[in-house]
């Protein structure tokens, strides 16, 4: 929690410091009031006092009140600004941190959990700070200050007050020790619910198609029920707090007068002046004691917020302090152009540890096309994602333009590479936003957008849209067809004008004709561009300069279509299942 506060800007710190000073000033003036009241009591009970004397004291009291008012309003203002500023900084820091996360970190934290950390968790902290600055600082100081003021006045009454304070603290301790851990659980359970509905939302089509609504709902309701039961226990325990505080406050005031009566009675009746002082002390004691209890009550209120905020703070810190494993290099230039080389690359995912790629070696030169084929789960996506440095190879080396991929800056690397992921990703916005998403050295005019769209064989449908390249795209690209979505994500990669293009199964949703025209266009217009193509269809890759056949992470064949047909059984099997006899022999 404290460590998070360090992220505030200078501005917030200054305001927070000021706020504490203001609180001190405010307490000083607040606590002066009962003193004046004690003066008044003496005046009232002493025969011969004048109204003028009272009015005089009254003006002094008014002065204190106004001073306290100025201090407290200024403090309230500052506290709210600090809280808003802190949450602003935290949101920015967390988002910027996550934006630079690698795939590994994304998977470790999981997307839904990161979302909660960036949103709810920060709101929790903000609420605590907004209240806390005013209350956490003020209450203990107030309580201690008030105690100091009364402790000398009467030992009996001090003891009684101490008793109540101790009882209240015990209730607080119960809450902190027993309930806090469960509040932590509430956060986890909320995460869980978030995850389940998110799964449902992203897979909504599948859910409908399999009539899995009931299954999803049951899963959700189960999690929702557990959440409810945990919260029930927590809130019922918290319900103890308020009544016990009110009871203490009232009972204490009562006892002070009650016991006070005995104390006054002990002073000999002859000594009228001492009896009056003794009585006025009791009245003042009552007021101060109320201040003490009230301060504790405010602290209780904060305590109710503390656990949730603490959990949130921990979760935010986890993100902010996470080390991004992948380190960016410094290289921007290279002598070669458009070459990709894998040197004895093996890889296993950090999360599973099982080797997914084993000893892969190959090289492509500028303008060549290399294709990867293999059964699902054979490691094709994994392989090309290493070429885009989503992960670093566990052993071996990936070279782009003759240099280790780890030496490049991200910018230099992704300026060389255009990568179309297996699952096309579109963002809310319009077509132009999506094609020009991100930064690259390539020019970014509307002409370039149209060019990329044309090359991706998407212009025929984009032109039909009333707004053309300004046509809106919904989140996830749900308002275009599967093939259209794929072509737009291809256009995005093309618009970067890279040296190396990677297509991960990116023609799968295209019909044969579009697939063929697209590839023809690419080889005609982008003859200099190296292409890495993952495909399931032999037809898509048979003309590639080099084909790598993957089987359970191993390269079981490397060569041209004809060579592989001759000497790679795995490839021949795939080919036979897709091509006719004459095509095979052609």
């Amino acid at each position: 929690m404290i460590r998070l506060l360090k992220r505030m800007r200078k501005r917030e710190w200054t305001m927070a410091g000021l706020c504490v000073l203001l609180v001190l000033g405010q307490i000083y003036f607040d606590l002066r009031l009962p003193d004046y009241m004690s003066d008044l009591t003496v005046l009232i009970e002493t025969p011969g006092s004048t109204v003028a004397q009272i009015i005089n004291t009254g003006f002094q009291m008014l002065g204190c009140t106004l001073a306290s008012a100025v201090f407290s309003i200024a403090c309230g203002y500052l506290a709210s600004q600090v809280a808003a500023g802190l949450s602003y900084c935290l949101r920015e820091d967390v988002f910027n941190k996550v934006a630079d996360f690698g795939q590994e970190e994304m998977q470790r934290f999981s997307v839904p959990s990161l979302i909660t950390r960036n949103t709810n968790d920060i709101t929790q902290i903000q609420m605590l700070v907004a209240m806390g600055l005013q209350i956490i600082v003020r209450s203990p100081i107030m309580a201690v200050w008030a105690i100091v003021k009364i402790i000398g006045k009467s030992w009996t009454l001090s003891a009684i007050t101490a008793g109540f304070v101790a009882a209240l603290l015990a209730v607080m301790a119960f809450i902190i020790i027993i309930v806090l851990p469960r509040v932590r659980r509430v956060q986890r359970l909320t995460d869980n619910i978030n995850r389940i509905s998110r799964e449902n939302l992203t897979g909504i089509n599948v859910v409908h198609a399999y009539n899995a609504e009931d299954y999803q709902q049951k899963k959700f309701e189960k999690a929702s029920g557990i959440l409810m039961r945990t919260q029930l226990f927590n809130q019922r325990s918290f319900a103890l707090l308020l009544p016990s505080v009110t009871l203490s406050m009232n009972a204490l005031a009562l006892l002070i007068y009650w016991v006070g009566a005995y104390i006054v009675e002990q002073v000999p009746a002859a000594d009228m002046a001492s009896r009056i002082t003794s009585f006025s002390n009791i009245v003042v004691f009552g007021t101060y004691a109320t201040y003490v209890i009230m301060s504790i009550m405010f602290m209780v209120m904060v305590v109710m917020f503390l656990p949730a905020a603490q959990v949130s703070a921990g979760r935010i810190r986890e993100v902010l302090e996470a080390k991004v494993r992948m380190k960016e290099g410094a290289r921007t230039d290279a002598e070669e152009k458009g070459t990709v080389e894998f040197k004895d690359v093996s890889f296993s995912y950090p999360s599973s540890g099982k080797e997914v790629l084993e000893h892969i070696s190959f090289k492509v030169n500028r303008g060549e096309t290399i294709a990867f084929i293999g059964a699902t789960g054979s490691g094709k996506t994994t392989l090309v994602s290493l070429a885009a440095r989503f992960y670093d190879a566990t052993s071996g080396q990936v070279l782009i333009d003759g240099h280790d991929i780890r030496d490049y800056t991200y910018e230099a690397l992704y300026d060389r590479i255009g990568y179309v992921t297996q699952k096309a990703v579109l963002f809310a916005g319009n077509i132009r936003d999506n094609v020009l998403f991100g930064e690259s050295l390539a020019p970014r005019t509307d002409e370039d957008v149209k060019d990329a769209v044309r090359l991706a064989q998407a212009s025929e449908f984009v032109n039909k849209l009333p707004q053309g390249i300004d046509a809106p795209i919904t989140q996830g690209g749900t308002n275009v067809s599967g093939g259209q979505k794929q072509r737009l994500s291809i256009a995005r990669a093309l618009a970067r004008k890279p040296e190396i293009l990677i297509f991960d199964d990116s023609f799968s949703a295209l019909d044969y004709k579009t697939d063929a025209t697209l590839r023809k266009g690419l080889s005609e217009e982008l003859g200099d561009t190296t292409r890495m193509i993952v495909a399931q269809r032999i037809g898509t890759i048979r003309h590639a300069d080099k084909i790598v056949v993957l089987d359970e992470g191993k390269a079981v064949g490397v060569g041209t279509h004809e060579e592989l047909l001759k000497n790679c059984p795995v490839y021949r099997e795939i080919a036979m299942s897709q091509l006719s006899e004459e095509e095979l022999n052609a």
Binding site: V51, S72, F95, V98, Q216, F238, T246, Y257, T478, S489
Partner: protein
Amino acid sequence: MSENRMAGRRMAVPEKSKRGLLGVLKELLEYSKNLKVPTIIALSLAVAGAVLTIIGPSQLSRIADLITEGLAAGIDLKAIAGVGALLLCMYLASALFTYVEHFIMATITLSLSKKMRDDLSRKINNVPMECFGRTSHGDILSRVTNDVSTLQQALSNSLPSIISSAAQFVGCLVMMFVTEWRMALAAVLVTLLGFAAMALIMSKSQRYFVARQRNLGSLNGYVEEMYSGHDGVRISCANDQIKKVFAGLNKEVYEAERKSQFLSGIMQPLMNVVGNLGYVVVCVLGAVLAINGQISFGVITAFIMYVRLFTSPLSTIAQGMTQMQTAAAAGDRVFDFLQEKELSDESHKTERLETVRGEVEFDHVRFSYPSNPDKIIIKDFSAHVLPGQKVAIVGPTGAGKTTMVNLLMRFFEINSGDIRIDGVSASRIL
């Protein structure tokens, strides 16, 4: 780009909570029928607890009087003990009532929020797909968790505390005037000032709270989208770009937050000031009256407590109201989604296909997506597939193959024509 994107995310949310606080409460009662009775019981207990505390000061003032009267002669300790014991019992009862009230409210609102969550989750599976085009996933998720929880907390904490504070307020008012009208008048005048300030702030702040909630909603949506599309961000080197867009959204939230939080931030201190002022007025006026022998000292003691009991409900009400404001905005969002038009009302759909033979018929089907009604995707399409027949839908990309399947699955409603399964219109099948 960023301008455009933010404009695209703006949802059509009105400036103020559109149902209003009372509207949301009414809707809640309709939504959950068994909410009414326990709420009434709990709220009555809250009132009873508050009233019992109010009687306190008058008894305490009797003790103070007993002491001052006995200052010269000798104090009647027995009488004091009697009053004290009675008062202690009342305080205990009040504490008990309050606890039971909290217990009940926690119980019913938590089960209400479970019902809401479950219904929201069910709703996700029942709304037409176009709904997800309008509302981002993050935004919907935020309704399931944040908004429901905001609403629950407001209902279980703020609502009873507003009611009991109101009771305390009124009770105090009565007791003060019964005890001493001049001092009561002075105390009330001072507090009225507080009232006026509070009302002013409330009316000013609501707009900012709605704005804050809305900005936060679109920020959350953006976070959701970018985190989910992290791969795409990375390969496009879009890190800096999305940081910039986010910074813009964040700035908007910050501005809205500064305004809404400032107003709620000074509420508490303002009430504190009013309380202090009341204290001073009561002490001074009381002292003047006491010196002239018009009131006893006990009245001052009583009033010192009354002023606190009288002003503290105001700040509680003020805080409660700001929370109810946020809750109303949250409630709006929850009910908006719950009342989102469903694929079509399933309740009157009685046909259930027990054993599906598998006969499918498209009869002059015409369809366009609701977001783009001018572009007819399926034009007057008819086909008849017999059970056991295998039919392939082929066509170039974007021809409408997926659309056809979507229609058969009834993800969208067709414009005209009919789709029949085993001779039964798909729109009537459960």
